[in-house]
């Protein structure tokens, strides 16, 4: 029952990678199956969970009315927080977010923001005074390897199903109605994280593989295939060629992830509407 370090067999894994195949049979650029659940938390304005292999993350969105930032007086506010809760991994300690958790939240924030996910002007209620503040809270519930890509997917998925109350401004009064409306989602940024082991670049590492990853490159792309956020992590380095190869992976695989996201959403949406229409 004692926790022991993962008995990672470096030679075995590298040998396998040299043949272009991984211990679980995947190609180097292949994700494990991805499973979405939408609106799992009824007290949130929106929520989604994503599973990729053992990785299990949950994102909840809460909307509240507050003040805009002075330099964007007619735009809503997005705040991304992340909790690496200790039941997700023996490496996650109880306490305030550490540098890993803060880095993740800040990278997801930049991906959503520069990826143009949400129409911020649509979140303005009274310019300079009142706007919607969206709290995006990331909960990592099980650490199975690829946290960035899973939380990026769960975050945009949660925003896609987020509904905020309709508000009416009467004079200087704000009336919050019972009725709710969805956010205006403008784009679907997704993250692809490229992991370097020796000379190999691979996607979606297992926990075992992750132990050997020397450097990682997280790249967000939008639906136009533009790059909208990049973060290199871990104490390793990339060659110029590896970076350019990563850009191509981020674009092609980003497209793939985006279509899985949209398909999952559409299936869910159809079921919900079906249920509402009594089908």
């Amino acid at each position: 029952m004692m926790i022991t370090p993962l008995p990672v067999n470096r030679d075995l894994i590298l040998g396998s990678l040299s043949k272009g195949v991984r211990s679980d049979g995947r190609r180097l650029d292949e994700y494990r199956p991805i499973k979405f659940e939408f609106n799992v938390i009824s007290k949130a304005n929106g929520s989604a969970s994503v599973r990729i292999g053992d990785t299990y993350v949950l994102v909840g969105v809460k909307a509240e009315i507050g003040k805009p930032f002075p330099d964007t007086p007619d735009e809503g506010v997005l705040i991304v927080n992340s909790e690496f809760v200790p039941l997700a991994s023996p490496q996650f300690e109880a306490g305030p977010p550490d540098e890993n958790s803060i880095e993740l939240a800040r990278v997801i924030d930049r991906g959503l923001r520069h990826g143009g996910a949400v129409d911020f002007k649509d979140l303005c209620i009274i310019p300079n005074e009142k706007v919607w503040i969206l709290w995006v809270d990331i909960y990592v519930l099980d650490h199975g390897g690829d946290l960035f890509d899973a939380t990026a997917l769960a975050s945009i998925a949660a925003l896609m199903v987020t509904k905020i109350p309709v508000v009416v401004v009467e004079g200087s009064q704000i009336v919050v109605r019972e009725e709710k409306r969805p956010l205006k989602i403008v784009d679907y940024p997704v993250s692809v994280t490229i992991n370097k082991i020796g000379n190999y670049l691979l996607l979606d590492p297992t926990l075992e593989e992750l132990e050997l990853v020397e450097a990682r490159l997280t790249m967000f792309t939008n639906s136009k295939g533009e790059i909208c956020a990049v973060q290199k992590g871990l104490p390793g380095a990339f060659t110029y060629d590896e970076v350019m190869k990563s850009v191509e992976l981020a674009k092609s695989k980003g497209r793939e992830l985006r279509s899985i996201l949209l398909e999952s959403f559409n299936n869910w949406d159809k079921n919900v509407r079906g249920a509402l229409n009594g089908v």
């Binding site: 029952m1 299990y56 997700a88 519930l141 926990l207």
Partner: protein, 245 residues
């Protein structure tokens, strides 16, 4: 507990349509997490909680461990999105108190003497809170401890009872908890029939208190059946269930 809202209608039914002695639907899943030694998920009404258990494991911080027994630690936390108004992630005084009472409700069941100099860590994450989170946490944590293979004298099953609109009720929802006249969370070791959690908020005569305690113990026993089913099959469930009077 101002009792302003009507919580029991003219037919004796509660806001969610239940009878006074009716439990909410309850699901328990076991072994749902990959990196812990034991885990469980509980969904009781809309209350939704994950529990993960590590241990017995060696203590990194020597000053925490004891020479003659395992030290049990427990952390109960609510996710920011689990409640009506977003909760700050910083631990509240309520969370600190609940971590303590939950731990003290579970400890009597754990054979801590078998693992001196070790630590058992219980991590409770409330993903959605709709009343009865401390009881659901205990119910699920006890299953997660068993899933971790930690030797126990008994499971611990928990159930809240209380009073609303002058009536005694079982398995309180959020609204009943907030606006009712009393809330009594209870946990028992069902085979030994002893009480390991007992709190009360509100006002009750000693007769009412007595009746509620007996009702709670009945509820705990039905919940215990679900725990056992879940440990046997990986999943246990009841739909709405009316306790015998």
């Amino acid at each position: 507990m101002s009792g302003k809202k009507r919580l029991i209608d003219e037919n004796g039914l509660r806001v969610d349509g239940r009878r006074w002695n009716e439990l909410r639907p309850l699901k328990i899943e076991v072994g749902i997490l990959s990196n812990v030694d034991g885990s469980a998920r509980i969904i009781q009404g809309k209350t939704h909680i994950l529990v993960g258990v590590y241990g017995p494991r060696e203590s990194f911080a020597k000053h925490v461990s004891l020479p003659d027994r395992s030290v049990v630690r427990c952390r109960y936390r609510m996710a920011p999105f689990s409640v009506e108004e977003r909760k700050s992630p910083a631990p509240s005084r309520r969370e600190i108190e609940l971590s303590k009472v939950i731990r003290e409700a579970l400890e009597p069941a754990i054979l801590v003497e078998e693992f001196p100099r070790t630590i058992i860590d219980i991590f409770i994450e409330v993903l959605e809170a709709d009343g009865g989170t401390r009881c659901a946490s205990i119910t699920a944590a006890s299953v997660a401890l068993a899933d971790a293979g930690i030797p126990m004298k008994d499971l611990v099953a928990a159930c809240a009872v209380g009073k609303a609109d002058g009536k005694l009720i079982v398995d309180l929802s959020d609204m009943e908890d907030k606006y009712g006249e009393a809330d009594v969370p209870v946990a028992i070791m069902p085979n030994k029939n002893i009480i390991t959690l007992l709190q009360m908020d509100g006002t009750l005569t000693s007769d009412e208190f007595n009746a509620l305690l007996q009702l709670a113990m009945k509820g705990c026993k039905r919940i215990h059946e679900v725990q056992r089913k879940a440990l046997k099959d990986g999943f246990g469930e009841i739909k709405n269930l009316v306790l015998e009077e």
